[in-house]
């Protein structure tokens, strides 16, 4: 892919991720648990992992968190550190699972929905570890069961959205090579 085209696509993906990041904070969640959310911006990170490589997706995830927090006025406060650690760990885990699919030695076959659920679980875990480090108290892991539980439906939903998005992009001829 030509360099300029790639740069343009990355810029558009970052812009879309920021919009989803901001839009998500407007959705009220009826559970009094800090950090339970849909993870819509994760769709873009996973899309970048499918279309490009780890480095590109990592940059998109980082830029999305930094710019999204800047625009919502939460830069460098608690929720910024929570979401950036979640974003880093989930990008890493989703990359590993996608590599499992391509690897010939290991016979794993995760669908995009499975990868998305793993990413959501990793995001929540990363958030909790960061929260425990920030407040220097491991009592916060009390929330681990409910957060892992919530990552299944939220990861499933975002995974389904991405699956439909990839289907559309393929049928409209905008991307040609991916295996999902």
């Amino acid at each position: 892919m030509a360099n300029t085209k790639k740069l343009t696509i990355i810029s558009v993906l970052i812009a879309q991720a920021i919009v989803l990041h901001l839009f998500e904070s407007l959705i009220p969640i009826p559970i009094p648990i800090p950090g339970v959310k849909l993870g819509l911006a994760n769709i873009i990170t996973l899309l970048a992992l499918v279309l490009f490589d780890f480095k590109t997706a990592f940059v998109i995830a980082l830029m999305r968190t930094i710019l999204g927090s800047l625009l919502s006025g939460t830069l460098f406060n608690i929720s910024f550190f929570l979401s950036i650690s979640g974003a880093i760990i989930s990008t890493f885990i989703m990359y590993i699972l996608l590599r499992f699919n391509q690897s010939l030695r290991v016979n794993y076959n995760f669908s995009i929905v499975g990868v998305s659920i793993a990413g959501a679980a990793a995001h929540n875990l990363g958030q909790l570890i960061m929260a425990a480090l920030l407040i220097k108290n491991t009592g916060i892991f009390y929330y681990l069961p409910i957060m892992l539980l919530s990552s299944v439906p939220t990861g499933f939903l975002t995974g389904l959205l991405l699956k439909e998005l990839l289907k559309y992009l393929k049928s409209s001829g905008q991307i040609d090579e991916f295996s999902f």
Binding site: N109, F110, G114, L134, I135, G139, P145, L149, V152
Partner: protein
């Protein structure tokens, strides 16, 4: 959804259930309840919820301001917090050992502990 997806979902659910069970097992048989309030990792005060203090309101200063905690016999809650999203206030009253109210922005953690040995001293 492939076979491996289902295994992955199963693993996440098992870990979630396992975590819940561990909390249940660790926090069984609470003969008396102790509320441990800590700010920024250091324990500020411990309150015996079986014999709560007469003034039911406790002020805990944190980085954002004062968190106001209310106690009643056997239960404790965050009455007011200066944090932006008030997750801690929405948690409501907690009354079982192992339960936690966490206010991450103001660094305040309220943890209910089972006081396994409620006797301070025995004199003969």
């Amino acid at each position: 959804m492939t076979k491996h997806d289902k295994i992955l979902i199963g693993i996440v659910l098992i870990f979630s259930l396992l975590g819940y069970l561990i909390f249940c097992i660790v926090n069984q048989d609470a003969s008396s309840l102790l509320a441990e309030i800590s700010v920024n990792g250091s324990v500020i005060t411990k309150i015996d919820l079986n014999n709560p203090p007469s003034d039911r309101i406790i002020n805990i200063p944190g980085p954002l301001g004062n968190s106001i905690i209310e106690v009643k016999p056997g239960a404790i809650r965050m009455k007011f917090s200066p944090c932006p999203d008030h997750h801690c206030m929405n948690t409501g009253w907690i009354n079982r050992s192992g339960q936690v109210i966490a206010c991450i922005p103001n660094r305040v953690i309220i943890k209910l502990l089972a006081d396994k040995n409620p006797v301070d001293a025995i004199s003969h």
